[in-house]
């Protein structure tokens, strides 16, 4: 799966979990700042990503997810 496809999945999940319009999301968006996500919402998004991509993301990786591109980078290495 390439970056654009991964981004599309993330955007869909953000819309479903937190009602964030796809237009608002870019690779540079900071999850807790630009997108105003709570830590609980980030965990829900991670759970949805795990289900979508059929992977388990280890706890210690969560700390490195600050921006959307951090998520894409990580997912690319797992499912790219």
């Amino acid at each position: 799966m390439n970056r654009t496809e991964i981004m599309a999945q993330i955007v869909g999940i953000l819309e479903d979990v937190a009602e964030i319009s796809p237009d608002e999301v870019t690779e540079d968006s900071v999850l807790m700042d630009d997108l105003d996500l709570s830590s609980m919402e980030i965990l829900t998004i991670v759970a949805d990503l795990e289900e979508t991509f059929g992977i388990r993301i280890p706890e210690k990786e969560l700390r490195s997810f600050v921006t959307i591109s951090d998520l894409i980078d990580y997912l690319s290495t797992r499912v790219g």
Binding site: E19, S38, M40, L43, T44, A47, E59, R63, S64, T67
Partner: protein, 493 residues
């Protein structure tokens, strides 16, 4: 089973009467097992495992009384068993926050000098340091049910120190709050869970005495006083505990249908959104929210209440055990208040600050008499640091904070000084103040305009090293010095 409950006031009686006799065959606890399937343990089986845990601790420590045992790990069935087992064995238990950085955990472990550390062995960032420093004291939590069941005895003194819980200090270093089992059990007995109110609503909903059993869902960490107290309170009423994980919140909720849930504001917001978007299928039979840990928005509470959710709020702090204020009001005027008083505590407002004393109060901060004297005055009043007012109906409302501590939507308490200390590592920052900005942790930073990007990059990088809840996510820059008060201290408001 039923509306009545069986209110005992010691852990020994809770295990031997409620769990082993009255509710023995009812589901006591559910959790997701290693094969991903939900496991249901009856109260009787749960009690048997608690006895095995006492046997295990005795095997490892000889006479376990007054020995100090740390608990370190994710919520799990063995963790719940160990909490009750260590109480039954008359140990002093110290549940630690596994999300902390090693510097903080290490400080707490050195302060406590544990005889034993029960942990889940997960791949935490500090795993190697823990093994190097405390390897000889570590035992796997999951082993704690693998010994023959032990005889149980009533605690020698239910008011003696039985747990130490760390709480964020306002000066950066955490403080160990010393509590006893009495301070938790008495609030259960005096119904801080607002049992009567829930039963009243259950009757209106058509529930029958002979089949009534509540199932209570919690993803809050067991090292936190609210989740910890719930674990001891729900068996008073034969209610089952569903141990969920924040990582798999909706899946766990779907697999363990629950009428009641312990929530912090961030979870309440998600549930509200589900209900308002007609996605009630995501939350199952839920109709009670036990709200605690931070202030909730009136609008959220009203929306939830108007959609049939019974809102129960508990105000308190680790220092007050599980005692504090309780709010069961559903009306517009009172729903957002912190609550009314409970029988086992006394209350007063001193210069606007809410002060409490009574049987629930902590025994003091562990090995920190100065901090204890600062928090509890000579007459035994705990100064909460919260400013409050009380209305003509007896409801207290929190109006602000006197102490310097950020209390977040996730229920976490964060010391601004600690984060300021970490920011000081960036040489482009001349001075800074960390404070709550809306729902976020924000920083006002004084630096040269040309170096703002450097500071932003530093903060982004530094956020990667912090747990999600502790991240600085709202930054404002200033070229000139930050405002100070008359005595030269940086202004925090």
């Amino acid at each position: 089973m039923g509306f009545e409950g069986h209110r005992v006031d010691t852990v020994y009686r809770l295990i031997t009467e409620n769990m082993e006799q009255i509710y023995a065959d009812l589901p006591g606890l559910r959790y997701r097992g290693a094969d991903e399937k939900i496991v249901t343990v009856t109260f009787g089986e749960y009690a048997q495992d608690i006895r095995r845990c006492v046997g295990y601790i005795t095997q490892k420590l000889g006479d376990p009384r007054r020995k100090k045992v740390c608990l370190l790990g994710q919520n799990s069935y063995p963790y719940a068993v160990a909490i009750l087992g260590l109480l039954a064995a008359d140990c002093i238990q110290i549940p630690l926050n596994q999300y902390k950085r090693w510097e903080e955990l290490s400080y707490e472990l050195d302060l406590v000098e544990p005889d034993l550390i029960l942990w889940d062995g997960a791949s935490y960032p500090w795993r190697d340091q823990l093994l190097a420093r405390w390897g000889g004291k570590l035992l796997p939590l999951e082993e704690c049910t693998q010994a023959p069941p032990a005889q149980l005895h009533e605690a020698e003194d239910p008011r003696a120190l039985s747990m130490i819980m760390f709480t964020s200090g306002t000066t950066g270093r955490s403080k160990g709050v010393m509590l006893n089992q009495w301070s938790i059990m008495i609030t259960g007995r005096d119904s801080i869970c607002s049992w009567e109110v829930a039963v009243e609503r259950a009757k209106e909903m058509g529930c029958k005495d002979e089949t009534f059993q509540l199932n209570h869902f919690s993803t809050l960490p067991l090292f936190h006083i609210a989740a910890y107290a719930n674990l001891l309170h729900w068996p008073l009423y034969g209610a089952a505990t569903n141990l969920g994980d924040a990582r798999s919140f909706y899946q766990d909720l779907a697999d363990m249908p629950s009428e009641s849930m312990a929530v912090v504001p961030a979870i309440a917001e998600m549930l509200r959104r589900d209900i308002l978007r007609n996605r009630r299928d995501k939350i199952g039979p839920l109709w009670i929210l036990m709200c605690s840990s931070a202030a909730f928005s009136r609008e959220t509470l009203l929306d939830l209440s108007h959609h049939g959710i019974l809102i129960i709020q508990n105000y308190g702090m680790t220092e007050t055990g599980s005692g504090g204020l309780v709010n069961e009001a559903q009306d517009e005027k009172h729903i957002a208040a912190a609550g009314h008083t409970i029988p086992c505590m006394e209350y007063k407002l001193e210069d606007g600050e809410l002060c409490m004393k009574g049987e629930c109060l902590m025994l003091g901060y562990y090995r920190n008499p100065e901090a204890t004297a600062e928090a509890v005055d000579a007459e035994g009043w705990l100064h909460t640091g919260d400013l409050a007012r009380v209305d003509e109906d007896g409801y207290y409302t929190i109006t602000g904070r006197k102490k310097n501590l950020i209390i977040l939507d996730s229920g976490e308490n964060v010391s601004p000084e600690e984060l300021e200390g970490l920011l000081a590592g960036c040489e482009a920052i001349r001075e800074c103040v960390v404070k709550a900005k809306g729902k976020k942790i924000g920083a006002d930073i004084c630096c040269e305009p040309g170096r703002q990007e450097e500071v932003r990059a530093y903060i982004t990088q530094f956020n990667r090293t912090l747990p999600l809840y502790k991240r600085i996510t709202a930054v404002d820059f200033s070229e000139g010095p930050l405002p100070r008060n008359a005595t030269g201290k940086l202004l925090r408001t």
